[in-house]
Amino acid sequence: MKKDSFINRLGKDLKKFKYVYIMAIPMVVYYVLFSYMPMYGAIIAFKHFSPGLGIWKSEWAGTFYFKMFFQDVYFSRILRNTVLISFKNLLFGFPAPIILALLINEVRNNAFKKTVQTISYLPHFVSIMVICGLIIDFTARDGAINDVIAFFGGSRQTMLLNPKLFQPVYIISGIWQEIGWGSIIYLGALTAIDPQLYEAASIDGAGRFRKMAHVTLPGIMPTIIIMLILRIGSIMNVGHEKIILLYNATVYETADVISTYAYRKGLLEMNYSYSTAIGLFNSIINFILVIGSNTISRKWGETSLW
């Protein structure tokens, strides 16, 4: 049998799945507009960009700005902070929604279940500006957290002025904000597990804990792996808005990351090319990480993104 041409096949496919394609349009447009088109601008990392001359007419700089970044006095510090914050976020932030989903799954009282879910989603929908305002107030010298510490005999301090406390505050508040929202996808995966498996496990004499370990967890493992790969791909993308809203010069030592540094260089100091070079470096590392983790996952497990 003769194989259809690509155009032919595409036409058939379009006809067959036309609603799926229509639904995909917004996402495709989004990625073209906000991810692919700006890639052209990355050229300025290799140029001495001057706004008046435009991208093409600006002089070529070669790897000037990359060298500048690698020799920057703050290079090792922002790299270390970026990796540390991301890693801690992954270590503590990634399992949290899974644990919440497993716990919610074990709750039998439906009203209580729904209440917990709703309450834990809520912070996700609050603007980051407001969240940071809350964090600053709570961690202030006369804030709620210090009230508790003082009650137990500790001494009060403005936590966001202490370099040792910046990362814990950042990560714990991040978990608090995203735990409920993050658990939705796992709860969804949980509903797909065949109830017969649980019945069989019960007949074999498995208790709640064993059912969780041997039925529930393996059941949602593919979802967990996919989420983990996606998460590793953005490991260098520390949420810079939140850090910018929370940090000050006293805690730069533990708070300044690649993206905040790029922000200061680009938007505050108008060093556009330098800022772009920093951003590009960041993206390349992310790219390597996502390919790497996917390859590893494909090799040792059955699940992978592609």
């Binding site: 639904m23 403005t158 006293t250």
Partner: protein, 542 residues
Amino acid sequence: MKGKSFKSVLCVVLAVLLVASTLTGCTGGSSSNNSGSGSNSNGSASGEKVSLTFWSDLNAKTANTCTSYEDVAAMKKLEEILNIDITWQHPPVGEEKEQFNLTVASMKLPDMMYYDWLNGYAGGPEKAVADKVILKLNDSLDKAPNLKALFDEYPDFYKQSVTDAGTLYMFPFAREICLAEENKILNCFQGPAYRKDLADALNIAEPRTIDELYAMFNAFKAEYGDDFIPYCARALDAPNGIFAICAAYGFLSDFYMEGDTVSYGVLSPNFKAYLETMVKWYSEGLIDPDFMANDGDSFKAKITNGDAGFYIGSQGGNWVTFCKVLETTVPEANLAYMHWPAGPDGKAYSSQTAVDHIVGGSGAAITTQNTNLDACLRYLDYGYSKEGIYLLNYGIEGDTYEVVDGKVNFTAKINDAAAEKGMDFVMGQYAFGGISSWATLQAVDLVSITRTYPGQAETVYTWGDCSHDLILPPISPTVDEATKLANIMNQIKTYRDETVAKIVMGQLPISECDTMVAKIKEMGIDEALEIENAALDRYNKR
């Protein structure tokens, strides 16, 4: 069946949500583009109304009553007189710098932009011209007869308005105060203030030295408890920050004049002595423990709640505002302005920079993408005519001000409202005089007619009663130097701020101070000083 229809409804809802979210992103972008390009279509023939666009920050005092300069009475009148329609583009308050940089980077420029070109544009004004952002105006000066007349009359004004290469790049904000030597003291609007009532209760006279200040802080602490803040500061930078104190030690935090040459704060021989004092004050609980976390609001709150004994700040924005709030919150409080304290060598300096500069650095520039150069020149030049100066400084004659025997006075309408709400608040909706800088000559008699709060007019004589030898003239580096300078200094400033904050707060030992000097040398401070000194030489030869 029921389940299936629910699912399809859900799909549609989700799809709509997705489309809606992408669309809002698009409309947000396109609307701002429209405002930029709207002016292109308008003709420029005289007699016809000309439309121009103007980017400017909205000053905080005007923002109290207006959302745009469109609503300011003097601006409305100006558009009428000149038959020019201005579309204003204001960045959100607090994001001026980012928005300016973004506007420049996108190169979708309005006709005119008001900005601090001297200090705010990375690389300085020469770079802004070289980047083809703004126009060189030297050849257009003939079409701005009013500004030209002022330049001819006051050579110093011209000297400060151009770069070393002689480039005129803006219609500058200029202070009439500084045109005449004897008036310069009226421009000393930053200085310290203390709670005189609390000091009087302890029989402490106005502290005139750092040691007396220290004694007063200790007395406050002993008498009013651990929660009382003897010295309330806001981060590092002067005037509110703790760098304001270093003037007493004969240097300023950034570049300053050490004799005839430019030097840098950290390199001053007194830097360590200053830092040791700050460490001592902080560790003894005399400085607000949260000074690095204070913002404008918390700083104000601590002082106006009566929790603080001393601060350094500006006159209108801080002192008058604080006094007014204190009248209701702590009626017995007497927040008195005081002299700048003298340091170890017995000499007092002010940390206020640019005190005697005729041109501050801000001004209105015409962009390379202007749609009608003649109209822009006509519009901006009017601000330097006698009528324009009166209009922009005092508002509308007969309505907001009247001239009696050649002396300008605000009308009863303004004075009455000002007595209740404050002069800045009221005048913000009418004009710029005494409110904010603008591309005009700020009139000297504003001092007497806007500084109406009891004691306000006299503050300058107390705050000005010190040496101004530390202040740099308005020098400007060349394009190449400016880029290099910006790279070096941004790095050094980040490092300096962080290290000073940590040393003061006890997170680093004071010995770190010596490391700091070595480190900023490594970061290229000597090269930066060479650039600054070369610029100073060129300025002196202008």
